[in-house]
Symmetry: C2
């Protein structure tokens, strides 16, 4: 497909009020999508045919793939929407799944449904965020689809490649394996609660503020960390925290048939989230267990932790607990004062009255501010 | 992930009125999705990790991929919705893109957004249609995502493999190449118009009626035909008719910088569509140019047609016209009485008042019944 550089004879692109319906499908592709996303690989132009073409992985590698619809960014609920965050998040949620299996990205496909009265400016910001995230993690945008419809939605699919004998899987943990977290938990909801309740947060540095802002608008996919974890060969199980760190730990426990016993003291988030939590009187561990950040959560045999840390340096690997034989079905327990107690569910559950993507921010924010950290309806285990 | 066979202790699955919200996310996956879609390949269970795993293609092959959101089936506008068609169509629109490049399917990923009050029965029909279409064209369902939201939507992404030197592309046509169609055009809108206007259609056989019904509820993706076309090495350009046969011919003309001159007499659809067209007084070529059927449209050098036909037998390859040097930008022209005249636009255009997916059936049905076959606003070419 011939690519024309963006032109603007009618001025429609220069007005922030111009809409997609004024451009029409072909012009949206040629004047917005291609200039932002066009790329080539050794097989030629990537966008233009019915399918995208990618080179095969190496002979000892497998192809991995994932699909995720992007939720409307939570930040849109309390700030003037900037679609750059929407495009960025659309890439991150899929790239994070590649990271969780230790894969190197080979491409992203993106399907967007757009109302005709969406502004050209907003859609262009979406494309810009998408392109920036894909550049950040070296993942070409291979193509996609656009369609008109009543409200904006974006769904992407990612492909990657990984050595067959090094794929990180959810299952494979053994009792005694350390529970480790790569990435900083708690920032996202600290940032949301700060924006909602505007507490006075003493000693918040510029770095803290930047970390909180980035968690809201440009969360991080742990792609290079996943690749390096896979290369160590030392990871017994892994997933990403797409439904929350608490939900990820609980899921690993469940599918491995083991309890995931986390040391309450080790679960403290970093300084920015801790300062916001203190100002609001919120338990900082509730923030750490929540969703919105994109950590990798994995099991590592104790004897291998030092090697894994060396492989990931300078990115820290937080050892927060260990897998233990279960007396029941396998679940997340929080260890404190010699007891291991079931934790309240801080996951992002679909078909749940707390789902902020369906019901707005308040139910989940209330849970964090006023809810219990422990699941008081369940008997403790010693 | 351990698969539990569907169980129904509470009876929630046996009632046609039970909703997804009554089941909750985990039960939807374990009791609906896995029993319908679970599969294994040599790498283990396909569904359960953060990414799906597929074996690499052969060393001389490339990976191809595509993504498409499924429009709400048109048949839902005038019949009690059966989500089996929705699931089937979700697979077909993506598999058809694989067919268009000559690829062998390696997997489908499916993302659905479902309202909590959607019935378990309706979602299960969706999964059943998806599974049946994937079985029909030997494409494993690799995984996907479910999410709650205000209305049902489905988006899928497909991956496949094809020999690098045999990929069917949209570009590559030469003047004199024959325009060929694989698949039967016109059935879909013949079926819709028959349902809408209920004309008396004389001599409609049981086979005709079955063909019309299948076009509405179980359209065909030309996957084996695409694979065989690619193997001939005789195809100079190819696409599928996802936006309509007229739009596909026009697109091939445009991207190849040639006119696509179609013989008006050769464009007649098969008997079922012709009978409906006659009963309604509609030009049958308008039905043939419309969207809703999933033909492959390709260019073939005249000397290679016999070989291609032999390779695809017993599936017919219709030669409907030829590529010619253009006096303008390259477009679809209809040849009749020694003249080549521009054709009205029967494509499915996004951001267009005729888009039936946004505006309902009537505008497009009106275009077919009362519109002009030729584009009368454009001067003819000799």
């Amino acid at each position: 497909m011939t690519v024309h550089p963006p032109q603007n004879p009618t001025g429609v692109l220069s007005s922030h009020r111009a809409t997609l319906a004024e451009l029409g499908e072909r012009a949206v592709v040629e004047r917005l999508v291609l200039p932002r996303l066009q790329s080539r690989n050794s097989l030629g132009d990537v966008i233009g045919d019915d399918c995208a073409l990618t080179e095969p992985p190496g002979p000892d590698e497998v192809v991995v793939s994932t699909i995720d619809p992007c939720p409307r960014p939570v930040v849109f609920d309390f700030r003037e929407p900037d679609y750059l965050s929407y495009g960025w998040l659309t890439a991150v949620i899929n790239l994070s799944d590649l990271a969780a299996v230790g894969a190197t990205p080979t491409g992203l496909l993106v399907s967007t449904v757009m109302p005709g009265d969406m502004t050209v400016h907003a859609y262009d910001r979406f494309l810009q965020g998408l392109a920036e995230a894909c550049r950040t993690w070296s993942c070409p945008v291979l193509g996609g689809n656009i369609k008109d419809g009543p409200e904006f939605t974006a769904t992407a699919a990612a492909t990657g490649r990984v050595r067959a004998d090094r794929v990180l899987r959810r299952t494979g943990a053994a009792p005694g394996d350390l529970l480790c977290v790569v990435g900083e938990p708690g920032l996202f909801w600290a940032a949301v609660l700060r924006a909602l309740y505007r507490p006075d947060v003493p000693r918040l540095t510029a770095a803290d503020a930047a970390a909180l802002e980035a968690a809201l608008t440009r969360p991080v996919a742990r792609v290079p960390e996943g690749i390096r974890l896979a290369a160590t060969g030392a990871v017994s199980c892994c997933t990403d925290a797409s439904d929350g760190l608490g939900a990820a730990l609980d899921e690993l426990a469940r599918v491995n048939g083991l309890d995931a016993v986390v040391d309450s003291a080790a679960l403290l988030p970093g300084p920015a989230a801790r300062k916001v939590a203190a100002a609001l009187g919120v338990d900082p561990r509730a923030l750490a267990l929540s969703w919105g950040d994109w950590e990798l959560v994995c099991g590592i045999a104790p004897g291998r932790l030092a090697a894994v840390r060396a492989a990931l340096a300078p990115i820290p690997v937080h050892a927060v607990g260990e897998f233990r034989p279960t007396a029941g079905d396998g679940r997340l327990l929080l260890g404190e004062d010699g007891r291991a107690r079931p934790v309240a569910d801080f996951g992002s559950r679909r078909f749940d009255a707390r789902s902020s993507f369906t019901h707005g921010l308040e139910p989940y924010a209330e849970l964090l501010v006023h809810g219990e950290l422990y699941d008081t309806g369940v008997a403790d285990r010693q």
